[in-house]
């Protein structure tokens, strides 16, 4: 039954957003702009310097574009989890539990925000620019890596989102905590990770596997040595890391839902 319901739910959400065309257009443009502002920051910094952490402007743009596209896709599907604290506080989470469907997919389909496509569009635009301007020794494997990187990145971000929002089952105002990790890791992964201080890098690059969204795949594509000393094959492991992150997220989510107690009414 479920396979028939989800397309219908998603379709209804999409139609409802397209009903107010002007409002949708403004939202869409805001998202394109939001992504462009991050681009402007990179361009402003590179108007002052030639390299950041040993990476040229176009190389940083490649990382920024991978991160932006992956985050946009993750936001499209997992961004709705930001509403979880409201569901829990108001008790409407009980309604989700009562329905004969899995809870996580229900939340993910509850509000597919099409305007996020604005973010993805501008990121893909920058990606095309960067890929044609950085020196890459193309091979079939590298083409596959280029296609897989944003997908793996989106899975990693989504997993981060699920784990971070699971905190909300224990902390009522957990949303801001979660934002530090979700939106924070988007900001983090847009730059080469060797610019960050060691503690920040440990948390945001390896505990939260942000380094595998854009940094290591970009190194592999560019054929560059990691200034932090990890071997070259690490750049090819992002899909594995994504699968692992998704597995961990699934376990954490189940654990969290099992410990949910309704607030009563």
């Amino acid at each position: 039954m479920a396979e028939f319901i989800y397309p219908k739910l998603i379709g209804a959400k999409i139609r409802s957003q397209l009903a107010y065309r002007a409002s949708f257009a403004v939202d869409f443009v805001s998202q394109v702009l939001a992504q462009c502002y991050e681009l402007i920051v990179i361009l402003v910094l590179f108007s002052q310097v030639d390299a950041l952490g040993g990476f040229s402007r176009d190389e940083v743009l490649l990382m920024y574009a991978f991160a932006g596209a992956a985050f946009g896709v993750a936001d499209l599907f997992a961004g709705q989890l930001d509403n979880l604290p409201t569901y829990i506080r108001t008790g409407s989470f009980d309604v989700l539990l009562m329905r004969p469907l899995r809870v996580l997919p229900q939340i993910m389909c509850s509000d597919i925000r099409l305007r996020r496509i604005g973010r993805i569009t501008s990121a893909v635009g920058v990606m095309i620019y960067a890929l044609t301007h950085v020196p890459i020794d193309w091979s079939p494997a590298k083409i596959l890596l280029t296609v897989l990187t944003p997908v793996a990145g989106a899975v990693i971000y989504s997993a981060v989102w699920v784990v971070a929002c699971s905190v909300c089952f224990w902390i009522v105002e957990g949303r801001e905590f979660a934002n530090a990790v979700t939106y924070g890791s988007n900001a983090f992964t847009s730059y080469p990770i060797n610019v960050y201080s060691r503690p920040l890098r440990w948390v945001m690059a390896y505990v939260v596997p942000g380094a595998f969204v854009a940094y290591y795949p970009s190194l592999a594509l560019l054929g560059k040595e990691d200034p932090l000393g990890l071997p070259g094959w690490v750049g090819w492991t992002s899909p594995l890391v994504a699968a692992l992150a998704a597995g961990v997220a699934g376990l954490v989510w189940r654990f969290a839902v099992r410990h949910y107690r309704g607030t009563g009414s």
Partner: protein, 240 residues
């Protein structure tokens, strides 16, 4: 509270790392920003963000949409003045809970550029307070647009994504190319964040900065006043 502070610190650390990396790559200084000035800039910025309340909650606009605003307009007060008084009161509390903590955090953990002249401290507070008034004025205008747009969430979102860059939160305005710098300083936006930070760091002329802020505070409050007058004429109360 704690959650908000964590987020604030995480974003501060991220911004700090990136700008510091650029400053280091430029042999220790970009446009009067060395490492200590960069640290100071970032942590004052993270504090001012909550003090001037760059991103509001769009509450007035929601009241316009729902019609509850009629109750606000009934009351024997000037709506803009009353809300401004409320916001300044909020600022008094935010001074201790939002502005001071990130600044102290920056002072304790990183090289910090303290003002050479102690008179800079009260001047910084004055500048930050004017910034709060301008921030209120801009938010008031954005919310007031709901009288014409009914659904102002597009404009509200637009302000939320744009303000960080325009006000000098994400990257110091001094880093921009000259034409962009001139354009920004001709607008009210740097008055919200960059101006108080410049007063603290001793970048530019203090008197000029304060006059620039005072001009925009007066201008934006005046525009808000007239916009409110126009908006009230559109209000129709149906029934009781």
């Amino acid at each position: 509270m704690l959650a908000g502070a964590t987020t604030n610190v995480v974003f501060g650390l991220l911004r700090l790392a990136i700008i510091s990396a650029a400053v280091t790559a430029a042999h220790g200084e970009i446009a009067d920003y060395d490492i200590a000035a960069t640290n100071t800039y970032v942590w004052i910025g993270q504090g001012l963000l909550g003090f001037v309340l760059l991103w509001g909650n769009n509450e007035l606009a929601e009241r316009v949409r729902s019609g509850d605003v009629v109750v606000d307009l009934y009351r024997p007060w000037h709506l803009q003045g009353a809300l401004l008084a409320q916001d300044v009161g909020r600022g008094g509390y935010a001074l201790l809970t939002r502005l001071a903590p990130p600044m102290v955090f920056g002072m304790l953990l990183f090289p910090f550029q303290f003002p050479e002249n102690p008179a800079r401290w009260p001047l910084f507070l004055l500048s930050a307070t004017i910034a709060l008034v301008i921030s209120f004025g801009v938010r008031f205008l954005v919310e007031l647009s709901a009288f014409w747009l009914l659904d102002n969430r597009g404009l509200y979102g637009f302000w939320n994504v744009s303000s960080g860059l325009l006000c000098g939160l994400t990257v110091p305005i001094a880093f921009f190319p000259e034409w962009a710098r001139n354009a920004l300083w001709a607008s009210p936006f740097p008055a919200l964040l960059q101006a108080p930070i410049d007063v603290f760091l001793g970048h530019g002329n203090v008197v000029k900065l304060l006059l620039y802020q005072a001009f925009w505070a007066a201008a934006i409050l005046a525009i808000g006043h007239f916009a409110l007058q126009r908006a009230v004429r559109k209000v129709v109360v149906q029934g009781g």
